[in-house]
């Protein structure tokens, strides 16, 4: 077959020189390389004592954010559930009752918000779909469990705490998010 392009470059070097045929030089070369690595510092990060650095935008366990006043952001619009390719999110909506304004930011809120962490594929589409600044993925990782039932994470685990020290910092992720470049 004739050449299809002008960029063809044959790389097949099918003849061995005598030195290469004699095994030993190549063997010794290879062994010297491995020996060099013997004295190199190991690359291992000794998890769990130390953890390898994770990017701020790493897509790990979810968090349901509260606003500055400690009210839940989620309004149970259901966009995250629609966007979820794994169908792992279950939401029940409820009307906010008078007197609950300090708990929920919008008039509607999620009375039940469950993510099946075993179904979830951590693709980040829910975060992207959220129009209310409510659901984010974080760089925390989901722990392993002995039983399958424990992976249904409800609001008790997902919603961040009210106190400042219980807040989950996602500012870095937000800053990068859709950062438009000046044109």
């Amino acid at each position: 077959m004739k050449s299809l392009t002008d960029r063809k470059k044959s790389v097949s070097k099918r003849e061995l020189t005598f030195a290469e045929k004699a095994y030993l030089p190549a063997v010794l070369k290879g062994m010297s390389i491995t020996l060099k690595h013997l004295f190199k510092k190991e690359a291992t990060v000794r998890y769990p004592e130390e953890t390898r650095e994770r990017a701020e935008v790493y897509r790990g366990m979810h968090v349901l954010k509260r606003d500055e006043e400690g009210r839940e952001n989620c309004t149970a619009c259901g966009l995250c559930a629609v966007a979820c390719p794994a169908e792992a999110i279950t939401i029940d909506a409820a009307e906010r009752q008078p007197g609950e304004e300090h708990l929920y930011r919008e008039e509607k809120y999620a009375s039940k918000y469950e993510i099946n962490m075993l179904r979830c594929i951590y693709c980040g589409l829910c975060e992207e779909a959220c129009p209310k600044d409510a659901v984010y993925l974080t760089d925390r990782i989901v722990p392993t469990e002995y039983s399958r039932g424990k992976f249904i994470y409800g609001k008790d685990i997902l919603v961040e705490g009210v106190k400042p020290e219980e807040r989950i910092d996602i500012s870095q992720r937000k800053k990068d998010y859709k950062m438009d470049v000046k044109d």
Partner: protein
């Protein structure tokens, strides 16, 4: 000097060779699409393969599709052929009725068609006549339906941990 091989050239050549058998010709996104009578598919593939100028001798792909609304032409078998030398691709379609989904196999022309046809059979139940080993390829042999036909559900049906009403599907 060969003429420049582009869609127009192929159309001209096709008209000479297969005038009546070609049911439809269109161009979408730069690629020539043909629809041909199912009985003629092997002739067309062969013509493409052996055409001295076009030299479309590479079978890129075979796949099926199911159009339940088209009466008596529910199943489509779609071929993509390509000429590497002329860098041009052609899409060929055949529509066959779901009641007797039979079409000639291209395995005599292209060895590679073997698995592509088996896959199409597996998914849509298209029977390729003359195929050396037309069996299911991806699914279990015991499966009694052709899963990619539109009427069959996607889901496994055994999943307990979700409520479909939440997903707008």
């Amino acid at each position: 000097m060969n003429p420049k091989v582009d869609n127009e050239y192929i159309v001209e050549e096709l008209k000479l060779a297969f005038n009546d058998d070609i049911l439809l010709m269109d161009e979408s996104y730069g690629m020539l699409g043909l629809e041909i009578k199912p009985s003629k598919i092997n002739d067309l593939l062969k013509w493409f393969k052996e055409h001295p100028v076009i030299k479309a001798n590479f079978l890129t792909d075979i796949c099926g599709a199911h159009f339940p609304d088209l009466k008596d032409r529910e199943l489509a078998v779609i071929y993509h052929v390509q000429s590497m030398e002329n860098n041009i691709r052609v899409r060929i379609k055949c529509f066959i009725p779901i009641s007797s989904p039979k079409i000639a196999s291209a395995t005599n022309l292209y060895v590679g068609a073997n698995w592509m046809e088996r896959e199409t059979f597996d998914f849509y139940g298209v029977e390729f006549e003359g195929h050396p080993n037309l069996q299911r390829i991806l699914n279990v042999d015991e499966m009694d339906y052709f899963p990619l036909r539109k009427q069959y559900p996607l889901e496994d049906g055994t999943r307990e941990d979700k409520d479909d009403s939440y997903f707008g599907r």
